[in-house]
Symmetry: C2
Subunit: 136 residues, 2 copies
DNA sequence: ATAGCACCTTCGACTCACTCGAAGTCAAGT
DNA sequence: ACTTGACTTCGAGTGAGTCGAAGGTGCTAT
């Protein structure tokens, strides 16, 4: 099964621009047809799926590019790749913790406005209204 | 209590550049001394704390700017601000969910490499190795 | 008084990861 | 022959900083 830029971008929920960007940056290997058009296969789909996850994890294009190169190199790079993943998992955990804090901050803000609107608290147009108490 | 750019940036853990950027963009109101230097007070500190949270929530500079303007306008804008916060809380929740998924994805990747390194799984240099199974 | 220093100012350029549009190429369909 | 549509590259724009240069101001030490 092969795909054009348009097809794979639709399949993966990316813009065509982004797919071309990834191939140009060397993240996403692709072959070309006789008219120099990019052609992708199911392997590309897998790659793209991985890239999407890694990007969402906040890993930079450049880091993904070099990780991708390590994968190509074969099993000699296994332990490097392992360390790469371990360190990024740590970062992901940090962001998870932060996301939790932010939700509770927003909860607090929303409740604050509800209190005012329902007359349980005085009107408070102070910009810092509802900010988190001590920490952060 | 008043602060210079340097002082407030140190206090808040931002670069001086960023603080100036925020004042220039109209997010962070500030007075000027007779030499045109920015001066901040404790109110500014509160504002900055709020701005930091909102930014971490992924709210754009422009949205924060208009939220800040709404706050200045007074209690007539209370319900607009309430809706603003509610919708951003929703986004924060979505990101929390995503952060959870990403951590579990990274866990999976890390385990995958451990399995290979410890001989519990075959070497697999396939780029898509360890990607999430069905969903995402 | 002049030099050095720390701090401030604005301005314009750079970064990253896209995002967009323009201009051109190519094969197929009417 | 012409249009359509998908492709190509290239260059510019965006957002949110990030950085550095060039210059202004006031304090202290010599």
């Amino acid at each position: 099964m092969t795909y054009t830029v348009k097809e794979i971008s639709e399949k993966m929920g990316l813009t065509e621009h982004t797919v071309r960007f990834y191939t140009d940056k060397g993240l996403l290997p692709c072959r070309r047809d006789k008219n120099n058009r990019r052609i992708f296969d199911d392997e590309s789909v897998n790659w793209l799926r991985t890239i999407q996850c890694l990007r969402k994890c906040g890993i930079s294009i450049e880091d993904i590019r070099s990780y991708s190169a390590l994968c190509m190199e074969g099993s000699s790079t296994l332990s490097v790749r392992y360390e790469f993943m371990k360190s990024h998992r740590k970062l992901a955990l940090k962001r998870l913790e932060e996301a939790r804090e932010l939700v509770s901050y927003m909860d607090h803000k929303v409740r604050h406005y509800e209190d005012i609107l329902e007359g349980r608290a005085p009107d408070d147009t102070n910009p810092s209204a509802g900010r988190p108490r001590q920490k952060e």
